[in-house]
Symmetry: C2
Subunit: 426 residues, 2 copies
């Protein structure tokens, strides 16, 4: 397996760090629009793991917006798998470039949605991933695999859903992805500051888009942003967090392969963050349309959303200032395989203190990066195989969860996952 | 009386419109950094009142930041009174320029404060108007008058306080300025939009500065922003509005001339607006320090607060989209002249529908502009006179309130004011 990693930012950098401890691949080309960033990622590996390990990585410059450029770099390095780790706006160009180069493809976020033109809070327009699924025939005809949505959410959440479907339930009422954290960022004086752990630009995009829900009878439909608030009790010491519906890939993926009455995604934004997003929207500060503003050099035109992002700390730099844990998982309700009512939460927790110590990587970013590396290892070993455009739930969950949970000394990733049997606990 | 009006923006423009209906002055020079804006104000007068009235106005360009330039324009036009109607950051240069030209001076906001260096939420630093009062000796020595804080709040509120002190109370517990409105702005589809009726830049400045309070025993002290929330019931159909402490000139002016145990200012921001200001502060979007931001022409540097202002509708343009009323007044508690407990609210209400129809001027801006014109008329007639740096409460309130309330056919401004006897009502 020869991998072309596109993007050496937060998640891309963490992918190289995690992969550096594994040996399932022959070579990884770490590419970025900014070559220096790719080189820095490999320098970290040389520093931490030595020159021999670093020799399995090559830095390259790439323009992710150009399918030809993607295909050209992939061909040049005889790449078998293209790993997309850049912003979702580049999904379509990388997706096309990988197919053109005859490589398999993985991503962690799918092609973007467009709201319905006249009734956006009830009806779907272009859905997340629609553009990719429309090309499934081409991938099948080429005998190539596109494994889409293979981060933590979507990704690990979809693996959990498949596991619940295969091993825990005879009938599923709801597959409800639930994401929450108790992360706190403090400045050098120890005062808590507002510093989102993920790009505010992307968070605005996903949280202000109309959330999508799937129901067996109704199919996909949308609601107003921040709908159906619910306090979900997260494990690992995180505790109760207010969650709301957010547009997310799981809702588009799970119903294609798994049988459930309802599929949802709720994000534990918390009341403060929801208020911040609603206020930004009220003031038009979520806008990406440039406005004319005075500056010391005369009037300039900037997008308010870019100014919001520039005014907040860079999420990539806040790891050392952050404490707490982040939890990703799926809450499944329905009828258990013993035909009794059952409610379980399948989850994985990442502790920022640990990810910083082990990987110099902030926990939200690291938890995202972990899962595509495991998936690549399963594809390399043949434990997973497939053709066409497939979500994580199209594959057997058991080898994934076993490899993730096994200790490093046993050849695994040392990342146990949890199962809360909530009806039993209640 | 020959007046130099500096600033032909919202309030300055309304001053010219109100003055155009009066005859107490010989000439008004309407000046602005943007000559076209001064010319437009006079063109409106020509259009509405004819060439004869417009001939009493001259447009001029001025740099309000330069005391020499201010003095030069004042001398050139043999000006007797300089009327400052620009942002408070220009107070010091205009104040100095007027004195240098030997003119009297009026403003509607005083020199800016600076928070205390180490304990800003308890102790005052440089207070509003400190710089101006420090120069009182120079004004007295020159025999010239600086009438400071002569808008609606400060201004009319101080006049009301003096009236209560002279005519209604034998002992005052609190002089509490209370400002509230029920203004609503709707877009062309009739949907309510967030559009402050006053400069968001200035509102951020005054609302995020530590509010100042005066008490007879403690003198001036500060609190945290938005302290002591109180629901105040405003007259004129406005009803209850949540008010909080805000830094304002009345608290610095009234104790210098009037006897009271406590002096406060509370602004009826309402819960939504308070939340907006707190959220802007949380995200650092109130900042005036430039941040580096991407733009179509490469990176630029802009202040987030300027971007917030640029993203909202221009307050000067929302008059036609606005409905509702604004109320300014003083709530006075203590012992009445009959030695019984007394609580009164003295107030003036401006209805946007009326100010738009009569003056093409949004009500908040128009209500501010009304009061300095009345004051100038009292100074022209000799009903008011003085030397030094004086607040409105240094003058007899009765001729002001009488001239304001008298109908236009009786030579007044046709603006009745109200007195709510609240203890009696309770």
């Amino acid at each position: 397996m020869r991998i072309l990693l596109i993007g050496a930012g937060g998640v891309g950098g963490a992918i190289t760090k995690i992969a550096a401890r594994r040996s399932f691949y022959e070579h990884i080309v770490v590419s970025d629009y900014d070559l220096g960033r790719a080189e820095s990622a490999i320098a970290w590996i040389a520093d931490r793991h030595g020159a021999d390990v670093a020799a399995r990585f090559t830095a390259a410059r790439i323009d992710a917006s150009d399918p030809e450029a993607v295909a050209s770099v992939a061909r040049e390095h005889s790449v078998t798998h293209v790993m997309n780790a850049v912003e979702p706006k580049f999904v379509q160009s990388i997706f096309a470039g990988a197919l053109a180069a005859g490589a398999d493809y993985l991503d962690m976020a799918m092609s973007l949605s467009e709201p319905h033109g006249t009734d956006p809070h009830n009806l779907t327009g272009v859905k997340l991933g629609d553009d990719q699924f429309a090309q499934a025939g081409d991938w099948e005809a080429s005998g190539r695999l596109a494994l889409v949505g293979m981060g933590v959410e979507p990704g690990l959440s979809d693996v959990f859903a498949r596991y619940a479907s295969d091993h825990l339930f005879s009938e599923i009422d709801e597959l409800g992805t639930r994401d929450g954290a108790n992360l706190v960022v403090r400045d050098s004086d120890g005062n808590e500051i507002f510093a989102p752990s993920f790009s505010i630009w992307t968070t605005i995009e996903e949280c202000l888009n109309p959330p999508v829900i799937w129901e067996k009878d109704a199919g996909w439909f949308t609601t107003a942003p921040f709908s159906e608030p619910e306090v979900f009790d997260f494990p690992g010491g995180i505790g109760p967090v207010e969650c709301v519906n957010v547009e997310h890939e799981e809702v588009l993926l799970m119903p294609r392969w798994l049988d459930a009455k309802r599929v949802t995604f709720k994000y534990g934004l918390g009341a403060e963050f929801i208020n911040v997003l609603e206020t930004l929207h009220l003031l038009g500060l979520d806008s990406t349309t440039p406005v004319r503003v005075r500056s010391a050099n005369g009037p300039v035109e900037v997008a308010a959303r870019d100014v919001v992002a520039a005014s907040l700390p860079d999420p990539a730099t806040i790891g050392p200032l952050m404490t707490g844990k982040t939890c990703a998982g799926v809450w499944v309700t329905g009828t258990g395989i013993d035909e009794n009512p059952r409610e379980v939460y399948l989850y994985h927790v990442a502790d920022n203190e640990w990810t910083m110590a082990e990987y110099d990587s902030q926990c939200v970013v690291w938890q995202t990066a972990l899962n595509p590396v495991i998936a690549l290892e399963l594809l390399a070993s043949g434990a997973w195989s497939g053709v066409g455009v497939l979500g994580p739930e199209a594959f057997d969950a058991e080898p994934f969860l076993a490899l993730m949970a096994a200790s490093e000394s046993d050849g695994g990733y040392g990342q146990p996952w949890g199962l809360d049997d909530r009806l039993a606990a209640a």
